[in-house]
């Protein structure tokens, strides 16, 4: 569904992505992991066309995303730190995105209801806590029945109950056959979600493996342990 071929991106002299190629397919739930500053968010932003790589091609459904914006209709994106116009209320932001996407019927309002956004519609974005902003981001990401979900640290800052609600939503989407790309540092949280692991380091792809195969290879029971096992054996 998404095919990335040899992309490279520099920020000044810092190389955020280094000749990275990867293919992401439908029905997979992929965890993007790696140390801080390894280029995860840059990769995500490149897929969304917010960061423009110097080299390489990104294809969405076989079409290059360069000079295209319609493909973003199929993507629900939840940023790591949601930045919203400060003087708008939650209600106005949601209405605006609906208007801009021109998608007003058959909306998916499950998260909207479960997070009880209705009670906060008149709150200004400026006054929201980090967790509430995350809730708004997730509501917006899942509202438009997208086929691809890109979630950058989705559960960071959410309370355990909300976090559970969001996780169930992600599992639902996976079962519907959507492609889901998640970055997270909480490896334990990913265990019941993901089907594939992508490990990045210094802008390079180190590992792209099916979770079951990875566990089998390393002989460990959880993702966290198998990754640590792998890193240790690599270093040795």
């Amino acid at each position: 569904m998404i095919k990335i071929e040899n992309i490279t991106k520099h920020f000044g002299r810092f190389r955020a992505l280094n000749n990275l190629s990867i293919e992401l397919n439908k029905g997979e739930c992929i965890a993007l992991i790696g140390p801080n500053g390894c280029g995860k968010t840059t990769l995500i932003k490149s897929i969304l066309g917010m960061v423009l790589p110097e080299l390489g091609i990104i294809k969405f459904n076989g079409k290059s995303i360069k000079n295209d914006n319609e493909y973003r209709k199929h993507i629900g994106y939840m940023p790591q730190i949601g930045r919203y116009p400060e003087n708008m209320t939650i209600g106005q932001v949601i209405e605006m995105i609906k208007g801009i996407r021109n998608h007003t019927n058959d909306l998916d309002t499950e998260l909207y209801e479960k997070f009880e956004i209705e009670k906060m519609l008149n709150k200004k974005m400026r006054t929201l806590s980090g967790g509430t902003t995350q809730k708004v981001s997730s509501v917006l990401a899942f509202m438009f029945q997208s086929k691809v979900f890109i979630l950058d640290e989705p559960t960071a800052g959410l309370d355990p109950i909300s976090s559970e609600i969001l996780k169930n939503k992600i599992i639902d989407a996976k079962n519907k056959g959507c492609l889901i790309l998640i970055t997270s540092h909480l490896l334990s949280e990913l265990d019941d979600l993901v089907t594939q692991i992508v490990f990045m380091q210094e802008g390079k792809l180190i590992l792209h493996e099916n979770v079951e195969i990875l566990k089998e290879k390393t002989g460990e029971a959880t993702i966290a342990k198998s990754i640590i096992h792998l890193l240790k054996t690599q270093r040795a």
Partner: protein, 255 residues
């Protein structure tokens, strides 16, 4: 495009600065015309105020507005919206509000008090000036990511166009008064939108006779229909070029 423009326009309207700006311009214009007994003098007073304030408010408000809209822009870009479209919608939204403020604030009293030809010229140049400085503001905000730096650059540019440039031209004029530099001065004046507007308006007033020899030359170059077309084409370039550069930069920007 229209959908994005709608949200931009709503947001600017909510920001009450534009309304305050309109009222301020109206106060200046009405008081200038009611204090001066002669309409020509009134026009001159308004002209001086307009040539200082319109560029200042246009460039400063627009620069700050664009920097403050970074979240708004980011949010739009992550949705299926064309980048160029977002930038153009912002430009049209800001230009429209500046132009509306000018027409309501200065345009109405001008059309009521001044003679028609002068009023039309002044409204036209004022509209051009408003849009030109919005366009320059867009360029400033693309030059640097740092808000303070961006606003600094736009203030510097305003100082340069509104005050410094005039000084430089005058300095040249006096230093080389013995040489036939009138043509060069004409060309130089055309390089600053503020000076060009001032000349265009002065030529419509009786006081242009007081400009002496250079007035005659200006009349020669800018007074004819050709000169008028050329002047407005130049003002048009001042809108198109900075905006086109900023649009190219914006399309390549990492958000």
């Amino acid at each position: 495009m229209i959908r994005v423009l709608k949200y931009v326009a709503l947001d600017i309207l909510k920001n009450k600065i534009i309304i305050a700006y309109t009222i301020m311009l109206a106060l200046f214009a009405w008081s200038a015309f009611s204090l001066e007994d002669n309409e020509s003098k009134g026009v001159l007073t308004v002209l001086n105020i307009v040539l200082l304030t319109v560029p200042l408010v246009s460039i400063l408000f627009s620069t700050i507005y664009i920097y403050n809209s970074s979240e708004f822009i980011e949010l739009l870009i992550s949705n299926p919206v064309n980048r160029g479209m977002v930038w153009k919608a912002l430009f049209i939204g800001l230009s429209l509000s500046m132009v509306t403020a000018y027409i309501v604030g200065v345009g109405i009293p001008l059309l009521l008090f001044a003679n028609f030809a002068t009023a039309i010229m002044m409204v036209a140049t004022g509209i051009m000036l408003s849009i030109i400085f919005v366009s320059v503001a867009f360029l400033c905000s693309m030059l640097t990511r740092d808000k303070a730096k961006g606003i600094g650059v736009s203030i510097m540019l305003w100082l340069y166009f509104a005050l410094l440039f005039d000084g430089i031209v005058l300095f040249l004029f006096f230093q080389f008064a013995d040489y036939p530099i009138e043509k060069i001065v004409v060309i130089l004046s055309a390089l600053s939108p503020v000076d060009l507007s001032r000349i265009l308006i002065l030529l419509k007033l009786d006081v242009s006779a007081m400009l002496g020899f250079s007035g005659a030359i200006f009349q020669n170059y800018f007074g004819s229909n050709w000169g008028l077309v050329l002047s407005f084409a130049l003002l048009g370039l001042w809108i198109a070029v900075p905006f086109a550069i900023s649009l190219r930069k914006f399309k390549k920007k990492d958000l």
